[in-house]
């Protein structure tokens, strides 16, 4: 058992996952990266070791394989201090409207899987009496929009799960952080029209997650502008909202 601080990143090969891993490794944390393709994570592990001289472990994890969750947690060499879930699937709204398989994949990847795995870690952390859980949700979960409500509703469910978990776990010494990144220039958003002033680069999100963990913040919008934007969007009356095209 190591006495150093440790973080587990679920979805370690995503751009935000890599950025979060770098931010924590830079701050001296040992890192475990989990993803579907462990071989693909090797270059990122080498990068973290070379840059920051920290221990990096790799683990196979598939967010849709919920049956394997308990053995995944049980097989970890040590329970981390912090677990971050960055997994998710944007999908294609138009396809999801008629393709049940695609819609299911979006719902399970953004809600069922992340909620179940973080729930499992929460029990372990509560038994230990310490730990931090970070869920990367989305501003899209703040209100369902015509253009992406399948994804948005799953993120809404995930945000509600994190909020409830936070209320319960805080009494047991476990902190829960909800991250709403807004637009981030990543592989997921490549080719999408992003609004420049509302868009950040992945490293900004990585640093924001580290800060939120260290400052024990509950909910973060990575760019402060999003808090205002979403406040306006959330308060629009439904009669007006349904007429808006976005």
């Amino acid at each position: 058992m190591t006495s150093r601080k440790s973080v587990l990143v679920l979805g370690g090969s995503s751009d935000i996952g890599r950025a979060a891993a770098r931010a924590f490794a830079k701050a001296g944390y040992d890192v475990a990266l989990a993803g579907r393709d462990v071989a693909a994570l090797e270059p990122d592990a080498a990068d973290l070791r070379a840059r920051y001289n920290v221990e990096v472990g790799l683990h196979k994890f598939d967010v849709l394989d919920t049956a394997a969750f308990e053995s995944f947690v049980g097989a970890l060499p040590a329970l981390p201090e912090i677990v971050i879930s960055i997994v998710g699937l944007l999908g294609v709204q138009q396809d999801a409207e008629s393709d049940l398989v695609h819609a299911t994949a979006i719902m399970r990847s953004n809600y069922e899987g992340p909620a179940l795995i973080l729930g499992l870690f929460a029990e372990k952390f509560l038994a230990r009496g310490s730990g931090t859980i970070v869920g990367v949700s989305s501003v899209a979960g703040d209100r369902g929009r015509a253009s992406n409500y399948v994804y948005g509703s799953a993120k809404a469910g995930f945000s509600a799960f994190l909020s409830g978990l936070r209320a319960r776990a805080s009494r047991g010494g476990v902190h829960v952080v909800t991250v709403k990144p807004g637009f981030v220039r990543t592989r997921m958003t490549e080719g999408m029209k992003l609004i420049g002033p509302l868009t950040v680069e992945a490293p900004v999100v990585g640093d924001a997650i580290l800060r939120a963990v260290e400052n024990k913040t509950d909910v973060i919008y990575v760019s402060g502008k999003w808090r205002l934007v979403m406040l306006i969007i959330k308060t629009l009356p439904e009669a007006v909202f349904k007429k808006l095209k976005f």
Binding site: A46, D47, R51, N53, E190
Partner: protein, 441 residues
């Protein structure tokens, strides 16, 4: 197609822009008229593909690092700023840094960038041991001084035209601190400036900022900045051995109207800058590496100062022997014209590394001009002076020189093209710059 330009924002041209996510995808992205692009800090058209531009900044992993030797292997898209911020606090810095830290490793190799230490320590390529290159023909080769050495020396300074640099192994310099002991010397005219740079030959770092609107007796008046790496004992009590590199707090939010840069504003700025510098002259003091090496990085998007139409940088190198006369003539013409911008940079260079590397022993002068009026004709006239003196222009800054100027300045071009042909017989790798200056028409 996407509109693309370099840092000078001139020219703006169409190119298909791709951002591959794997080296295999980089290979697949290469088709007729492709060039790699790093962080887009080349001023002109060097990093714009004739038809397709492949952005490499996503490849930003460090592959390995040996703290015993300072040897590092990295992907080509790692930025120098990232390298400095990550390894500086561990006691290592790049041997060579240009005037901005926002360039990629691949770009720094392709342009064989020089720093304020070129006169004594050489260029960026000197500290590169080997390269992983994806040639235009489709091979992935490792090139070093011993293995595929032709490809190695053509790639260092080769402006990306030998293929796409994927990875590099280079050496970092061990430093005790991230601080520089700086000495400022004020020079009242060009002769004094050149004397001060000659006398500064023994200094690790040296560079002169010239007031290029000063005329007559003041022609060439300058501030010369000499620098050495400071050791721990020179730092103030309690100071961190490595300073924090802050993001620029100042940033130019919009394109300034062209009226903002005029004779009066530039003259006033330069007068103030010179006087403030002259007041500090004489003694030495310790400054953070960031303002010392990267003074312009403290103003974000400073290229917007020149307005929408962009600007041109003219950077030439003049061989030592004829340098005084030609530099005097160039500065005089620029001062009479009166629209060169703010401060110009003068520094001594040594021998270059690569076949097409810019540096040669002598003086390099860099001047910025807004794109307007008859500037292109004016710079052609300056080029004639440069060519007559046996000098050349820096390709990483160029957007407009003629084929004749280029061919006169780079006599090793034929050898370079022969190597290029052997690596890329079909001629897949082409940039707007190579089309303009030396591809067969």
């Amino acid at each position: 197609m996407t509109l693309v330009s370099g840092w000078g924002r001139f020219p703006v041209v169409d190119s298909d822009v791709l951002r591959p996510r794997s080296f295999a995808a980089v290979g697949e992205a290469v088709s007729a008229g492709t060039i790699a692009r790093g962080n887009g800090r080349a001023y002109g058209d060097a990093a714009i593909g004739a038809a397709r531009t492949v952005t490499m900044t996503g490849f930003d992993r460090v592959r390995s690092f040996d703290p015993a030797t300072g040897r590092i292997r990295l992907e080509a898209g790692v930025l120098l700023s990232d390298l400095i911020d990550t390894f500086g606090p561990r006691g290592f810095l790049p041997f060579v840094v240009p005037g901005t830290r926002f360039v990629s490793i691949g770009g720094a190799i392709a342009a064989d960038v020089h720093g304020k230490n070129h006169h004594c320590e050489g260029g960026f390529g000197r500290y590169v041991d080997s390269l992983l290159l994806r040639t235009g023909q489709g091979e992935v080769i490792e090139a070093s001084r011993d293995e595929n050495s032709d490809a190695f020396f053509a790639t260092v300074g080769g402006m990306g035209l030998t293929g796409i640099i994927l990875e590099a192994t280079m050496r970092l310099r061990r430093v005790e601190t991230g601080w520089i002991r700086e000495r400022v010397i004020s020079a009242s005219d060009l002769d004094a400036a050149m004397r001060a740079l000659e006398a500064g030959d023994a200094a690790t770092y040296s560079v002169a900022w010239i007031d290029c609107v000063a005329r007559g007796r003041d022609l060439g008046r300058s501030l010369i900045y000499l620098g050495e790496h400071a050791d721990r004992g020179e730092l103030a009590e309690g100071a961190d051995a490595f300073p924090v590199g802050k993001d620029s707090r100042l940033s130019v939010p919009v394109d300034l109207p062209s009226i903002a840069l005029n004779r009066i504003s530039v003259r006033a700025f330069n007068e103030l800058y010179y006087r403030m510098g002259a007041r500090r002259a004489g003694g030495s003091h310790v400054v953070s590496l960031y303002p010392y090496f990267f003074p312009l990085d403290s103003v974000g998007d400073w290229n917007r100062i020149y307005g929408k139409r962009g600007f041109l940088q003219h950077q030439c190198v003049i061989p030592q022997a004829g340098a005084r006369a030609v530099l005097g003539e160039i500065l005089d013409r620029v001062a009479r014209r009166g629209d060169a911008s703010f401060l110009a940079v003068l520094k001594k260079l040594g021998q270059g590394n690569g076949i097409l590397s810019f540096p040669l022993p002598g003086y390099t002068l860099a001047l910025d001009f807004p794109v307007k009026g008859d500037i292109l004709n004016f710079l052609d006239e300056i080029d004639r002076l440069v060519v007559a003196a046996g000098g050349r222009l820096y390709l990483a800054k160029d957007a407009r020189q003629s084929r004749a100027t280029f061919e006169a300045g780079y006599p090793a071009l034929q050898r370079f093209n022969a190597i290029r042909k052997s690596l890329d017989p079909a001629g897949n790798i082409r940039s707007k710059l190579s089309q303009r200056l030396f591809d067969e028409v």
